[in-house]
Symmetry: C2
Subunit: 328 residues, 2 copies
Amino acid sequence: MSLPERKLIERIRRLAGAKSNAVLACGIGDDCAVLRPPRGHELLLTTDFSLEGVHFRREWHSADAVGHRCLARGLSDIAAMGGVPLAAFLSLALPAGLSQDWVDGFMRGFTRLAKKFNTPLAGGDTAQSPGGVLADVVVLGSAPRRTAVGRSGARVGDDIYVTGSLGSGIVVLRKLQERRRSRPALKHPAAERKHFYPTPRLEAGRWLRERKLVSAMIDISDGLSTELSHICEESQVGAWIFQPAIPVAPGATLRDALHGGDEYELLFTAPPGKHDHIPDRIAGVAVHWLGTITKARGMWLVAPSMKSRQELKPEGWQHLEARSPQRV
Amino acid sequence: MSLPERKLIERIRRLAGAKSNAVLACGIGDDCAVLRPPRGHELLLTTDFSLEGVHFRREWHSADAVGHRCLARGLSDIAAMGGVPLAAFLSLALPAGLSQDWVDGFMRGFTRLAKKFNTPLAGGDTAQSPGGVLADVVVLGSAPRRTAVGRSGARVGDDIYVTGSLGSGIVVLRKLQERRRSRPALKHPAAERKHFYPTPRLEAGRWLRERKLVSAMIDISDGLSTELSHICEESQVGAWIFQPAIPVAPGATLRDALHGGDEYELLFTAPPGKHDHIPDRIAGVAVHWLGTITKARGMWLVAPSMKSRQELKPEGWQHLEARSPQRV
């Protein structure tokens, strides 16, 4: 370990301010972190890259927002299983000459979100980056044994729901790309806030899991059409989505909502008998019914008239490219 | 997720061939992996970057060796706690245009080592790299509650030991740097093998932990002087090392053995009463007594004559730079 690396670790340790707790027996400062998950729980583990130029740009995203976003990705995966986060791990490679201010800002954004969701920074790695800023975040969570919600449990006749609204991620990216320099004031402050400081839907995911309401769940990091196709594939079913039911974010188009990624909403299915138990809002977030799971494979978008439908293809989402999604 | 990314994940899933087992309830293919660690165990978690140009070079290291080495780093951290590995997670970012052969070779090296130590690949992330090949490996392990061996348990009067021999890592790097092109046949096949295909000392670490012989343990990724300074700092003690006791690898100098990194040996301390219980070899690996833990802080190297000593400073180890270590 080089001396600057050592200093960086000391600084991260101080800024993270994570102390031992019931779960974290030993954090930063040994070969491994030592953790004691709650008794009777299964572990949930997710890792997410956040790479400069791929997942963020330093000229668009403040250091604080980058730190927030890279942890939010992992927390959102825990939310999608209905889990509770226990600890986070940060592998961070920095280019030579990056300012101390940037690192401090990054850690500020990261630790603010970590504290909000009671997720201490328990370890990680540091290195000098051969290119831009490279972060890989691990979030460890847990859920009582056999209760975590996967992607493969959707059954024919289940209803399909989504939290929040869709399409704001791509709207903000498009604006950022149009005005290439610096961070412009955009037109939709709510969309902007959601892009720069997304809130992982941990409370909603946990609420749904605790009440045993959902059969399958996923977060929408890669766009509604792609994530729904994952549920359909893993559950070996099809889906009908009703176009008027889609909660299109202000400033976004239907296509943005169907195919745009960089969202942190939850897409889930529930047996029809649970419909009356699913409220319009969970933990302050709106919940929208979208459609229904079918036996016939394939995904279909049903027109507002209810008289026609067209096939809905999963559109792969490329981070930061904000391509115009394929016509539907 | 882009379609190539999806294809890559499918390929990794197939090449990894990890199936569910008693620990791994659900691996690649959901938002999180779901794991059930052994009852009464604490979790151990470590993350390690392996970045092209920093930790390896494609012109020096075959894809197979890169895959092996990046998992070996994490397994070695589990070994240093006396733990047993449960599962590995691979975040892998690849530059556009990297050949499928390279990826297959990488996965071959990774999974061969994973199988050897019964560590299924349980998840991870993929991305397109803005620079070279970027890997971040997480290894999750466990040990019975309150038995994991940390860095802070060394006590005054404890003996200091090391497994294997030291210095071969830097010898091989120096040769690679001298002959810049391709992968030359080197002079020390054992050293070469140890550099390209290091064996994490999992059996030795576990053996020592199970018999409650050790008070502190660490692996020597950053060189003996640096790792010993970590034990001394965390345990608030000092150390005397006896120069003739240092197991210098064939072709290496004393300085290489003291300060060279890229090793995967274990450095540990044990109470003097345990001396007779520590064998010359553990799980086929030689064990050497090196010196003793002192109350006075600082590290000292005692000359062969036993009549003089000089201060031993921790030398930060820079991966791939193979600097000439400072004179001792």
